[in-house]
Amino acid sequence: MSPIDTTLLNLAIAVLFLPLAGFTLLIFFGKKIPRLDLVETGILFLSLAFSLYIMIEKIFILHLGTLDLTFRWIDIGAIVGHPGFVLDIGIAIDNITAIMLVVVTLISSLVHLFSFGYMRDDIRYIRYYAYLGFFSFSMLGIVLSNNILMMYVFWELVGISSYLLIGHWYEKKSASDAGKKAFIVNRVGDVGFFIGIMIVFTSLHTVLFSGIFKGIAAGQLSGPLLTAAGILIFCGAVGKSAQFPLHVWLPDAMEGPTPVSALIHAATMVAAGVYLVARVYPMLTGDALTVIAYIGAVTAFLAATIAITQNDIKKVLAYSTISQLGYMILGLGVGAFSAGFFHLVTHAAFKAGLFLGSGSVIYAMHHEQDMRRMGGLRRKMPITYWAFVIFSLSISGIPFTSGFLSKDSILGGALAYGMLSGNYIIPILGYGVVFLTAFYMFRLIIMTFHGEPRDHHKFEHAKESPAVMTIPLVVLAALSLFVFYTFNPFSPESSWVMKSVVKPESVVPAAQTRGWDNPVPVETASVPSTPNTLPQMGNQTRSVTYYGEALEESHYVGMGLSLTLAFLGILAAFVVYQWKKVDAEKLKQSVKPVYTFLLNKWYFDELYGATVVAGTVGVSKAFAWFDGHVIDGIVNGAAAFTRGASSLSGKFDHYVVDGLVNFSAWFTGLLGKGVRRVQTGKVQTYIVFALLGVLIIFFAFRQF
């Protein structure tokens, strides 16, 4: 390992553990030392600096391969006839990791900064920062781990920090409920993830990604089990990335402080699911990928439809997040790997921005979250407004924004998928969501910032947020523009993210891949594999596939289609809400059943409440009753039976056995009455009898 590798790995370890150190410091000394929040924020910025250094060194300057640091965590030896049990874990840095490090630390440090303002008066201010530090640590752990087990470990840790942060205002029942719900729903997904790990480990005896891919390539795990493993691991992503059908926790998670929503529930943690899928991508079979694509598409559509009816500003953004995560998953599922990951990066920036922006609004409106009571804030909060507009354009996929680049390439991929598979459901859903996204985002902007203020009292007091809150907005708004990614605003392929994050080559047996993911035979390939490609985890090389060719074909068609739909969506929003050409209320009335259905989030909460939750609680009550009455009843019954038997035997004892005894006593007494006369109480009489006895004995035993 060269010195620079070691340096980068050490820096990565520092990046990982600095926030943990901050957490420890804050938890134990938070009350004794003042202003530790500054320390924590400083730590995060330091981590950001390190991460940037790592990324730049790795991707732009040195073009290093994967850096890996593995050590043995558990070693239970090997025994004859068994493979033994060894767990190696460690960290690794490849391009995805390097980019994610920057994304996480950047958003996290901006959120730290933003929270100075937003959380200023909070009663558990220091605790809040401590948890943020802990979250950053866990999230960086996910990013850095080179194995599926450590990923699971940190996966759970982000779950717990999410739980703690959602429940930050735990005095509110809804907040603590939401935290609990988030954790438990995530756990459901995690169980799948864990079973997936068990399958992988049991078959391959390693948890290292490199080992897993090697093992699968060697055919040690294949067939339905491999598909199952892929889908089960994806279950983890379904939980964490709030995909259908486990998406229900994310909207509730909005009970947490808004900066937390920005950091955890928009930019980083929820994207971990996407990251996970990207990590295990080479081992996903064609079937598994199709499942993933469908889940993503359904989620994207479902969430977008709900988003257009919500009135809570954060809820809209939450559903928007779910929808965008669906996009990413969809992208990965259809094979647009780089695009999906690219969207993760750009989404992190603009969605964090949206949440921070909404935080800024909420802060200005004194914790009012209902959009129906806002309006006209544009004049009062210009910075927030313009940042918000940029974010919205970006999420809607309007050119010159980062969102356009990434989203467009996902949609291109989806279209290519449709062309290759002949299955157009996924692209149709994907393009439908473009329209919906544009519509609900601009609906939000119009309701919040345009028009006349609806709550004058609050409006009067509203003012632009302080600099600590606007600076992050400005930074994120800048990052939502195309220039940071590529100089050609219409060519996502030219962005450095897409170039450095290359779709890894699948390791699954050829029969289980989608045919079009396989490389085009060399003689027909237009471009041979370039030698200076950037190696990734797994056995990945850049090569031309049928899929790549389809992508080329669909590119411009897809771009045109998505642009049209996005503009239509924005137009519709303006028509309905700005210019009021169509009465929104009448529209609602005309499609009331649909509207109600959407407003109630497709009744998922009710469905789960009535089935899973009620079922579990019911079963648990039933079991408790069973335990208390049947099993314990048997025990107590046995005791009662024993008592009964003992009482029976007691009666027997009393009447039969004792009867006999008493009879013999009575008989003896009768005898005694006769013999009693002998007992005169006079010694002399006794002597006579004794002598008599002696004589009798004597004569009885005499032998002569």
């Binding site: 109480g681 006079k682 010694v683 002399q684 002597i687 006579v688 002598l691």
Partner: protein
Amino acid sequence: MNLHVGLTDFLVVSAILFSLGIYGVVTRKNAIMVLMGIELILNSANLNFVAFTRFGLMNLTGQVIALFVIILAAAEAAILLAIVLNIHQQLDTVNVDEVDKLKN
């Protein structure tokens, strides 16, 4: 020295004394008389011991035991007489048949 009178003769005397002592103990009512019977019995036993010693069936131990018996008899007599005196003072009788307070 060839004796006509031998061990058996002494033992017979002893047996007669013993029987008389028993008879006295059994038939007498007066506690003191009972005591006298006991003394007879003890003496008969002593006579046996000494006789056995004389005729070589026991060594000198027999005489020592006789000595102890005499001592015990003395002690016994002293105690018994004290009790009798006491009973006499308490119950105004020395009739063993009448000393039956514990019985009723």
